[in-house]
């Protein structure tokens, strides 16, 4: 199996780009990723893969004119060629009046997220895990999903003398168990090490929900109180990362939180923060400009405090960077990749018991933005939606479409779960969130299954 290239070799290749002649400044972003994914459906392994790739992205600055070129040719010649191309582009474009300069030299605290066993996991190891998961399906049910083990190393070097490098690993399983009379159940797990991933537990959880969700009944669309399991909450929080917390959209008035600093935007016990270096997430200790990351409180006790910034948007907004740059070029601006919602004190069972009539949602599917400034999104329920009556699960219901403002849902949050789960809504992004009970959630349509 491949392994880390290591900081010394990365620095040697990066130097070839940093030394390109005629530039005022150069930044090199290096990424190396390798790993395997074992994909299964109908309780058989049908698509499996292993891949290794490197990426060298070179940003060249000349008189505030910026060009970016990328290659997966991780050699001195490849890096030099990318730098030449970037310089060629920088020579012909207009200057960027907001260019803030490259990240200064700064110490980056280490984060230990690299697990050798995960980096070198074999196809047979993953297949055994899938077999253990599939074995949890009762008669008449099958499992689909993927077991992935990946490793990566990321480094940033620039002509200001900054150099940072970090290796990490991730093991994840997601599955949908289906069968019986229209039953579907879902479970997933993301960890930095395979030793923390339990295929049997994941299989059991999905299978149990699939058995319980059989023979779903029609239900009218409309407003219902909801209990949202963590996977569903992660969709809401993940979309806030996109349409709410970015410093550029905040500064330009495009965010649902623009102009709302210091205002109440959620129930008083809702707190959301971003912290790439905290335990319980899978984050890089520095951003893609090489700035060290630190915790940023975004919503504290229901009040919006502010967003996240990279060097350019920080200059635009007159604040300091929070270390949330994405890989260049990045017209969308900065983005929080490691969100947390503070847990509460309630179990999902207590939320159900506290609901006279409402719905329990396992997760959402294919969600998209309807009105970004109102934080309204639409999507479907999936893999286990249930009617709650008199504090108990009454029966499964067919899937519903929701069209709902996230801010309104957070404002109407009545209970917050005590347990959190890590879920990933977007590439490079993960949210650790609890379950929520929300007073009123708008289901605008329904499906046939």
């Amino acid at each position: 199996m491949p392994g880390p290239i290591g900081p010394d070799e990365v620095r040697r290749v990066a130097d070839a780009a940093l030394n390109v002649g005629g530039a005022d400044g150069v930044e090199v972003l290096f990424m190396h990723e390798w790993g395997g994914l074992t994909r299964f459906a109908s309780s058989s392994i049908h698509q499996s893969t292993h891949r290794e790739d490197t990426g060298v992205s070179v940003r060249v600055i000349k008189e505030n004119r910026i060009g970016v070129a990328s290659t997966n040719d991780f050699t001195i010649e490849g890096a030099r060629r990318a730098a030449d191309h970037a310089l060629e582009m920088a020579n012909v474009v207009a200057p960027d009046a907001l260019f803030p300069g490259l990240a200064p030299q700064a110490e980056v605290p280490g984060v230990d997220l690299y697990d050798e066993a995960t980096a070198s996991a074999t196809p047979a190891f993953r297949a055994d895990g899938v077999a253990d998961l599939v074995a949890q399906c009762p008669e008449g049910f099958t499992a689909a999903g993927a077991f992935e083990t990946i490793a990566s190393e990321v480094a940033v070097a620039n002509t200001e003398g900054q150099f940072c490098w970090s290796p990490s690993t991730m093991a994840s399983i997601n599955t949908v168990v289906s069968g019986g009379e229209g039953g579907h159940g879902f479970a997933e797990v993301f960890e930095s090490a395979t030793s923390d991933v339990d295929p049997v537990a994941i299989g059991n959880r999905a299978a149990s929900k699939a058995v319980d969700s059989q023979s779903p009944r029609d239900i009218e669309a409309g407003r219902y109180p909801v209990v949202l399991e963590p996977a569903a909450v992660s969709t809401l929080v993940g979309f806030l990362a996109w349409i709410g917390f970015g410093g550029r959209s905040l500064a330009e008035g495009r965010s649902c939180f623009s102009g709302k600093e210091g205002q109440r935007v959620a129930a008083g016990d809702v707190s959301i923060y971003d912290d790439a270096r905290a335990r319980g997430t899978l984050g890089l200790p520095f951003d893609f400009e090489g700035v060290p990351r630190s915790r940023v409180d975004l919503i504290k006790s229901g009040t919006f405090l502010g967003g996240v910034y990279d060097l350019r948007t920080a200059k635009q907004a007159g604040v300091g960077t929070t270390g949330h740059a994405l890989p260049p070029p990045n017209p969308e601006g900065p983005f929080p990749l490691n969100l947390f919602m503070e847990p509460g004190e309630t179990s999902v069972e207590e939320m159900i018991a506290g609901t006279e009539r409402g719905l329990l949602v396992t997760r959402f599917h294919y969600t998209n933005v309807v009105h970004p400034i109102e934080s309204t999104i639409t999507g479907m329920t999936r893999d286990g939606t249930f009617l709650i009556e008199n504090g108990e699960i009454a029966h499964p219901v067919k899937n519903l479409r929701f069209t709902q403002s996230i801010v309104e849902a957070l404002t109407g949050t009545e209970m917050i779960g005590r347990d959190t789960e890590l879920a990933s809504e977007f590439f490079f992004s993960a949210s650790r969130v609890p379950a929520l009970k929300v007073a009123s959630f708008n289901f605008s349509g329904r499906s046939d299954h």
Binding site: I45, H46, M89, V93, Y366, N399, E408, R446
Partner: protein, 480 residues
């Protein structure tokens, strides 16, 4: 590079593969974004590598590497075989490949002017001028323009004797105007949203788009939308422009007829399909005006090629004929499950991914009349233009789409402008309510360069030919 693909195939066969293919892919991209006459980004990227796919005792394995030296090719081939052997940990019916004639050949998408050779200064100047003109409109917040170029060279060698070299060059550009007001953000795009109109063509395609000429119009509309009425919530007659019909086809016809999805292979990710194998020739998918064809040979289509990534030649496949479902898009593996041969739809996202069934160019067959004719023939309804959002359930039944702009149709004329329009429906009911499909004069072969599918995530570049169309009794104006 064909030599490398052949070496990989031979190394996999030597390692124990019953079937093997080696595929070298070289991707080059260039992207330019200008906003309010300032550079937002300009970048070029290149990526090359090798993917090796094997069948061992009826199980698939795939491994990929960016390093093309002989030792690495052999290591990757052995790993692909090891992956296939590990898959046998769980029983399944062995994969059977439907037959295909081995072929040797080359193919290149049509192109007059290589867009990668056009000077950067010319590209930047076009976007600068378009955004300058947008900025002349009072109330506009942002005028943005983008150009995206893509070139893929593929070299495929299979253990059945196929050896192919193919190149596609794709060019796209678009402009977007954004106006911000009190609690509102309105956008207008041209010629389509999400970075415009992409075609398998050269620079000549971008010149034909006339971005500069349309820039002031869309900026004006974006500003006007800020004070427009909200699209009312009602069940009414809906007319869609061809750009929105494109995405309606993509989500509610293209994906549901992918045979791997139908067979449950995508269950855990974006889901399965309401369409079943036994529905061929029987399922009433739409009204008799709805005929849909998958055609991988259309000039200019992002889903056009000489052969797919299994070496199956480009085909024209009737998907829906006069409203009745007829055929899936398929691979060699899935076609054999239902006793057919492949429709030639297997494509991979670059060298690092295995091929999946992907849409080619899935288009609605034009009927008669222009958009103006359809609107002129509508007594009361709404006309929606230019997609902003999309969502569909995990069986591809319940959908909801948003558009940038709408107008009331009264007595055959566009009247009141509406902002924030959207509509929702059930796939077969919606297509069944179609009572007008525009003719060739307003039929456009659009590009969709961002179709996601599979685990690990893959992005495909697909095409959809679409005319404007009319649908009856549709719920519009869904509110949160």
């Amino acid at each position: 590079m064909l030599d490398v693909a052949r070496q990989a195939m031979e190394a996999a066969t030597a390692a124990g593969a019953d079937y093997a293919d080696g595929r070298v892919v070289i991707d080059d991209e260039e992207s330019i974004t200008v906003r309010n006459q300032e550079m937002e980004g300009i970048d070029r990227s290149t990526s090359q590598g090798l993917g090796i796919r094997v069948l061992v005792n009826g199980y698939w394995g795939f491994a990929a590497t960016a390093r093309l030296e002989p030792g690495e090719i052999e290591r990757t081939a052995r790993l692909a075989v090891e992956i296939a052997r590990a898959a046998a940990r769980l029983p399944m019916d062995p994969v059977v490949l439907s037959p295909v004639e081995p072929v040797t050949g080359t193919w290149h998408s049509p192109m007059q002017v290589d867009p990668f050779n056009v000077p950067l200064e010319e590209k930047v100047a076009m976007l600068m001028e378009a955004t300058r003109r947008m900025q002349t409109i009072d109330g506009l917040s942002f005028g943005e323009g983008g150009i995206d170029l893509f070139r893929r060279r593929t070299f495929l060698a299979t253990s059945e004797g196929t050896q192919l070299e193919q190149t596609t060059v794709q060019s796209g550009a678009g402009i977007e105007a954004t106006a911000l007001g009190e609690g509102e953000m309105q956008r207008r795009s041209f010629p389509n949203s999400f970075r415009g109109h992409v075609s398998a063509a050269g620079w000549e395609h971008i010149l034909r788009l006339r971005l500069i000429e349309e820039s002031e119009r869309i900026a004006t509309e974006a500003v006007e939308l800020l004070s427009a009425e909200e699209c009312p919530s009602e069940v009414t007659t809906l007319v869609l422009d061809s750009g929105q019909v494109e995405l309606q086809i993509h989500e509610s016809i293209g994906h549901p007829v992918e045979l791997d999805r139908v067979l449950g292979m995508e269950e855990a990710y974006a889901g399965s399909s309401f369409v079943r194998p036994q529905d061929r020739g029987k399922l009433r998918y739409g009204s008799p005006l709805v005929s849909i064809t998958a055609d991988a040979s259309l000039p200019g289509g992002l889903g056009s090629f000489g052969w797919d990534d299994e070496g199956v030649p480009a085909q024209q496949v009737p998907i829906i004929v006069d409203g009745v479902f007829q055929n899936f898009i398929s691979s060699r593996e899935t076609a054999s499950v239902i006793g057919q041969t492949s429709s030639g739809a297997m494509r991979a996202d670059g060298w690092a991914n295995y091929p999946l069934i992907r849409m080619t160019n899935i288009s609605i067959e034009p009927r008669e009349g222009s958009l103006a004719d359809i609107i002129g023939d509508t007594k009361d309804g709404v006309f929606l233009s230019t997609n902003t959002s999309w969502s569909i359930d995990d069986h591809r039944v319940n959908f909801q789409f948003g558009c940038e702009i709408a107008w009331r149709i009264r007595d055959g004329r566009l009247t009141t402008m509406y902002r924030n329009p959207n509509y929702t429906g059930i796939t077969t009911e919606f297509w069944g309510s179609c009572d007008a499909v525009g003719g060739r004069e307003d039929w456009t072969l659009w590009g969709t360069p961002n179709c996601g599918k599979g685990q690990p995530d893959q992005v495909a570049r697909v095409g959809h030919g679409a005319s404007p169309a009319r649908f009856r009794n549709v719920q519009v104006g869904v509110r949160g």
